[in-house]
Amino acid sequence: MSIPEIIQQPPGTISFSTPAKNTLLIELSGFWEIGGKSPSAKEVQDRIDADSTISRIIFDSGRLLSWDSTLLTFLIRIIDICSTSGISVERDGLPRGVQRLLTLACDNLDKKQVQLNVPAESFLARIGEGTLKIIISSAEMLDFIGEACSALFRLFMAKARFRGSDLALIIWECGVQALPIVSLISALVGIIVAFVGVVQLRIFGAEIYIANVVAIAMAREMGALMTAIIMMGRTGAAYAAQLGTMEVNEEIDAFKTLGISPMEFLVIPRIVALVLMMPLLCVYSDIVGILGGAVISIGMFDLPVNQYYDQTLNALSITHLSIGIIKSAVFAVLIAISGCFYGMHCGRSASAVGDAATSSVVTGIVLIVLADGIFAVITNAFRI
């Protein structure tokens, strides 16, 4: 169809007349199509309001050239308006197809109104409900943690049931497959710390101490924190999505009715896998970060290799390393719990799975940072 033709299509119009007393005739003409111009039901409303004697509406569609849902929605609005003000609408003048679709639509609309009878809520009620929801979901989380603990206990009593092959697969996914991204981020963090640090330390002629800064920063803080954040986004979100999809597909129900606890079968292997892998990843990240720092310091700022090596070894103490490792084990639990919790409490639709993944990552990162803060306070209090 060429463009001028479209422009030539006369837009949908209505005109009013009163052929008899109390009767409003609405004449429909032109093209009533999606994307075209057509009048709104407001005009009819205004006309009815202006003349209170009207008790019947009839239509004339003799000059109607074409119609689609645009006309139907317009008519449904009119029928709606008229039913509230007690005006009868006669559909005889409409094209046959329109009449049939209207009958169908109105029948179904009526049914829907019978079912959905939800009163509108006030602002305060919504706030109250929101607060309750938060409390309930915290309680659910605690419930979940309790259940996980008892399942872990059964695991230690060698009573928990899950398949070894599942655990191996999960370990592979959250350990080995995470190496590339952990390498990249850790090396970058090491490089950045070194870069920023050297520039500052140079002012005091103490560049060589950058070795201490990088070693301690990576071992105590950055190694554990960066792997935790990476793993939350990567593995925690994946847990939420996997378990959420299983919930949507009734797979979790199928476990429950078979008498298999989803907690033991699905959640425990995920917690165990992460708790085993995260400390290893953390140590790996420490090493890569320190190497990254060394490359910059030695390569760009010409620090002597021997001295750098000695300084690093001096700075790295068992205390620093073990603080990082303990932290990463704790982070692992937080990641696994928040991922699995949102997965298991997922709604029943595809979008619910997305929501579950999002919530798990947000909650997980907040928990990680909180835990890190608590660690900082504790280590400070004990001067370690």
Binding site: D166, L169, M246, E250, E251, A254, T257, L258, G259
Partner: protein
């Protein structure tokens, strides 16, 4: 089920649902549902889409507590039993979920084998034999090592059926078994259900829309009515077709034709 259990309960219906109300939060889906299912009966739950058939099944299977009412298995009140007791009862129940619900991280063989590994002491070789027998019953020989994501919808349904039958349960729940199957497979499935009842005395609860299959297999049925939100008819579907005066029941059983 132990010997004594069976003896004591012989008089009771196999499953009894007493005055159950189904609801999600404040949204009442169905109310005042009561019926009994005899041992070895094929019982069909009929009703329009969204009327709460799957929800009723969830309540009967312990996945969701009823807001009101009780479910009895062999006279034992299901929802008042401990979790352990409920699991024991469910060991004798096989379930086909509406969407199949095959475990997506396992192959078909593993899916069917898991119930056997959990609840029996059979050797791996024996389990493998049973698995391939069950898969052959549903026409999926040769697909043992396929993952659910590699199958069509109808194949998933059939595999899930195989899993439901893995333990030769006393009771089978089928949520729309023939949805997504071609007419021939659907017919084969009906025959299979009848055969299970004949040979193993299995009680079968079927949720179904498929009129042909309903008339072919049902001994007894209930109809859940969307409009009144309660059950409006119970009895053999053929009898209902000739006797029921309820317009909704009639039009369901005649695919919307006005009833005589």
């Amino acid at each position: 089920m132990t010997q004594t259990d069976t003896q004591i309960m012989q008089g009771d219906p196999h499953i009894r649902v007493n005055d159950v109300t189904l609801a999600y939060g404040n949204y009442v889906v169905m109310k005042d549902i009561s019926f009994s299912i005899r041992r070895g009966e094929i019982f069909v739950v009929m009703g329009g889409s969204g009327c709460g058939k799957s929800t009723l099944m969830k309540i009967m299977l312990g996945l969701m507590p009823p807001v009101k009412g009780d479910v009895f298995y062999n006279g034992v009140n299901f929802w008042e039993s401990s979790q352990n007791r409920r699991n024991k009862i469910l060991e004798n129940v096989g379930i086909l979920y509406q969407k199949g619900a095959l475990w997506s991280s396992m192959t078909l063989a593993e899916n069917v084998a898991l119930p056997l590994e959990e609840h029996t002491n059979l050797s791996t070789a024996q389990i493998r034999e049973i698995v391939s027998f069950k898969l052959s019953l549903v026409g999926l020989t040769g697909f043992e090592e396929f993952y659910p994501s590699e199958l069509s919808g109808g194949m998933i349904k059939r595999a899930a059926l195989g899993r439901a039958m893995a333990l030769d349960p006393d009771i089978l729940f089928f949520d729309e078994p023939s949805a997504g199957l071609d007419p021939v497979s659907a017919r084969v499935l009906d025959d299979l259900i009848l055969e299970l009842r004949e040979s193993l005395q299995t009680t079968v609860v079927v949720i179904s829309h498929d009129l042909e299959s309903i008339f072919a297999i049902a001994d007894n049925s209930i109809f859940l009515d969307l409009e009144t939100r309660t059950m409006t008819a119970t009895g053999n579907p053929r009898a209902l077709l000739s006797k029921s005066r309820d317009t909704n029941v009639c039009s369901f059983l005649t695919r919307g034709k006005p009833c005589s």
